[in-house]
Every structure is written in structure tokens, then in C-alpha cells.
Amino acid sequence: MLQKVFGKFTKWSVLRTLIFKDIEVLIIGSLGIVSVISFFVGGVVAIQTALNLSNPLIPRNLIGYATRQSVILEFAPTFMSIIMAGKVGSYITSSIGTMRVTEQIDALEVMGINTYNYLIFPKIIALLLYPFVITLSMFLGILGGYVASVTGGLCSSAIFIEGLQLDFNPFHIQYAFIKTTLFSFFLATVPAFHGYYLKGGALQVGKASTTSFVWTSVVIILANFIITQLILA
């Protein structure tokens, strides 16, 4: 499938329109849900860390430190990608799958269009902007932790910020973005595969969306494990 995606290219003027449309739907359309989830989960991470710090010998700046590490290393890149597998992945599967069952893909093929390139390539390119979504998620997750800590009286603003700066390793950001970029590729291709090769009718579109979510999540989790072993271990 991938060979055909990068095979005969669709006319650039058409492809450009598709890419912008997919950026709007897949990236801009996801910003709302990503912002809300990131902010509140960041807040919950901070609260739970604070509630588990019963030992007075452990410094309170650990709240900021733990929030930063959790959000940057795992929550934003990995768990947000699994949420996106549900949102973006099921959209890709159902939109391509519906085109399959309503013969729209046949219509494109008969016109002599490389349907793999026309349907899947713009999604891969659009999702190259996915790391920007994750950057926003990181920022809002940490902001959520800060707001929860300060307004909830868990620690002062200065202590939280001190924790944020504590033992900071910039390579962790690189690691997060390396895996985010890889996940963005999975987010585009695994659901597209399930939609493109769908057989049947409307019921199968629903089933394929569920299957694609499961498989995209599994692939992301496995890839996360392998990349972490290769880069951080």
C-alpha cells in the first residue's frame, strides 16, 4: 500500500487543496479536544503527585518536576496519540470506508487516478503537523498542573516553577518529538488501510472504525516501547 501511496502523484493543484482540507479537519479540528484534555489531565497529575507527598522530607517542587516529566515523556506524545487514534483515526477509516462502500473509490480509479496517493498521501502530510498539536498539549498539560497546584494551595507558584526547571534534560523533548512524528505516520496509515480495504456496507464501516482504533493504539503502544528501549534505555 505504501509503495502505491508514493507512486503516481495526483496533480499538485488538487493535492494542495486536499492537504489544506486535511490540515483543517485532522489538525485544527483536534485542537479543542486536545486542549481541554491536556489542561485537565495536567491538573490531575499535579494534584495526585501532591496528595502522595506525605513525607515532609520530600520537597514540594517535586509536583512541578513530576508534572513536567509525566506530560512531556508520556502523556502528551503517547496517550494523546491514543486519544487521537480514536478521533482522527476513526474519521480517516470511516471517511475512506464510506467512499469505498459508495463506489466513490471505484469512480476515482476508473478515472485513472492513483487512489492511494489521492486519499492517503494528503493525510500523511497533514499529520506531519501533529508534533505542533503535541507541543500545545505539553504546554497546556504543564499549565493545567500549575493552575491546579497554585489555586489548590498544593504549592506556591515559585516552588512549582522551580520544580519545572529542576534537572531538565532537553533530550527528553527530542525523544518526545521523535516518537510523536512516528506516531503521526501510524495515525494516518493504519486507519487508512482499514478504510481502503473495507468490504461490505455501512455496518462494516462502523466495525472497521473500531478495529482501526484498536490496531492504531496497539501499534502506538508497541512502537512507544521499542523507541523508549532504543533511545532512553
Binding site: 495526483t10 496533480k11 493543484s13 488538487v14 482540507k21 464510506t98 467512499m99 459508495t102 463506489e103 466513490q104 471505484d106 469512480a107 480509479e109 476508473v110 478515472m111 485513472g112 487516478i113
Partner: protein, 257 residues
């Protein structure tokens, strides 16, 4: 003209098309008819190049579809217009965008030229004032008109219609059939229609190929229907007792004359 010579198509050890030979004539409405499961759609998909037959030849003019290289096949496909059973309009595009899609993909015309051509075909299929409607806002008959407009916008040499009047009421079906026949004459193209609608057969069947269990059982025109003695074809056409009686009465009255 399209010529099919001795084609066989097998799916899962079941022979779907069994030694089919036929000619689809230019400037005429060629109908492939038969019961569900008779192999009509598979034959149509073989003509479109979506299925490759195990044996046999398909010629578009003098060129063999099966021997064509991918590039030649793509060029040929740009000379084909297709109306799918469910219309296959692109959901995310309005009427105008659906029709202009092939022009944007395959021509270097500017926006003004494209829009002129789109409005020309919209007028031809009697769909004016619907340019900005989405497919979901259109009736079945209007969707078929948009599909026909999209199929002819590139001035094709070949027009393929898969059950163009399925899901339509009899009156709209006849309007769509007549539109297809008019376009066939006007553009002098080879039109192949896959149908099991007897109204279409009687109305526009200039060259009819009847399939049963993957075999060609009968070939002729709508004018030959009353005179044939081919039993499978008679059983298909005169499937109801009323029609059988009408045929008998017609034969008797001819004999009296």
C-alpha cells in the same frame, strides 16, 4: 466500438463469465441485461478494466485493453465516462465541484473555461440552479443527472452506466434513459448500460445482450424481442403471467393478419 471476444472470468473456482463474445456499437445504447447474479456487473467491470478476465480479449477500437500498459490504460480511462449504480458522487463536494473534478484533474484549462464547460453540461442534463447543492440535498433522479453530467464533462468516447435507474420511480427512470440515449446520439459515443429494468430494455435497447448464469443467451434489439423463441430470454422478459398472455395474444393477432 467495443468488442469482447471469448472472455472467461472465475471467482473462487466459480465461472462468472463463460465464453462471452459481444460487440458494443458506436452511437447506440448497448444494454447488458440479465437476472441478478447473471454476470452483468462483472462483465461491465471487465470492460472498465477493474477486473481482468482469465481468458479472452477486450478491444476498444483496435486496441486490446488487456495488453495495454498502465499509462495507455490511464489515457483510455480518461476517455470513459461512468455512471455508477449509487451515483458515486463525492460527498464532500457540491454539484459544481463534482462535475468539474475530472476537468481539474486532467486538463490545464483555466477556472473560467472549466466553469463554462460545467455550466454547459449542467444545462444539458437539466440541472440548472443546483450548482451549490450537496449530493445529500438532491433527489435520486437529480443525483443520476449529476453523475451523467460528470461522466460526459470530458467529452468521453465511451459511456458506461451501471443500473442507472435503480431506485428511481418509473417516470424518472424513463427520463434518465431518454437522457442517456439523447447524449449517446448527440456525442456519437459507445454507451454500455447494465440493467434489469424492462422499461429501459423496451425504451432504449438498440443492442441488447442477455446473460444467464454467465453465458450469453441472446443478442438483438428491442424490436426483435416479440419475435424471439429463445426460451431463457422469454422466461426473463415475460416473467409474469400477464406478460406471457399479452405475448400470446400479440402472436395470435399477428398470425390472424
Amino acid at each position: 466500438m467495443i468488442t469482447v471476444k471469448n472472455i472467461f472470468k472465475v471467482f473462487d473456482k466459480t465461472t462468472i463469465l463463460n465464453n462471452i463474445s459481444a460487440s458494443f456499437k458506436k452511437g447506440k445504447t448497448n444494454l447488458i441485461i440479465g437476472q441478478s447474479g447473471s454476470g452483468k456487473t462483472v462483465l461491465l467491470k471487465c470492460l472498465l478494466g477493474l477486473h481482468v478476465p482469465e481468458k479472452g480479449e477486450i478491444f476498444f477500437g483496435d486496441e486490446s485493453l488487456i495488453d495495454m500498459k498502465e499509462k495507455q490504460r490511464r489515457m483510455l480511462r480518461q476517455e470513459m465516462g461512468i455512471v455508477f449504480q449509487g451515483s458515486a458522487l463525492f460527498d464532500s463536494m457540491n454539484v459544481e465541484e463534482n462535475i468539474m473534478f475530472p476537468l481539474k484533474m486532467f486538463t490545464n484549462n483555466n477556472d473560467e473555461e472549466i466553469l463554462d464547460r460545467v455550466n454547459e453540461v449542467i444545462k444539458r442534463v437539466n440541472l440548472t440552479n443546483s450548482n451549490y447543492k450537496m449530493p445529500s440535498e438532491l433527489s435520486g433522479g437529480m443525483q443520476k443527472r449529476v453523475a451523467i453530467a460528470r461522466a460526459i464533462v470530458m467529452n468521453p468516447k465511451f459511456l458506461f452506466c451501471d443500473e442507472p435507474n435503480s431506485g428511481l420511480d418509473p417516470k424518472t427512470s424513463i427520463l434518465i434513459d431518454n437522457l442517456i440515449q439523447e447524449i449517446t446520439k448527440e456525442y456519437n459515443i459507445t454507451t454500455v448500460i447494465n440493467t434489469h429494468d424492462m422499461n429501459s430494455v423496451m425504451e432504449i435497447g438498440e443492442n441488447i445482450i442477455f446473460l444467464q448464469n454467465g453465458k450469453k443467451e441472446w443478442e438483438g434489439s428491442n424490436l426483435d424481442i416479440f419475435d424471439t423463441d429463445n426460451k431463457p430470454f422469454i422466461d426473463f422478459v415475460y416473467s409474469s403471467e400477464i406478460l406471457k398472455k399479452a405475448r400470446k395474444a400479440l402472436k395470435n393477432s399477428k398470425a390472424d393478419l
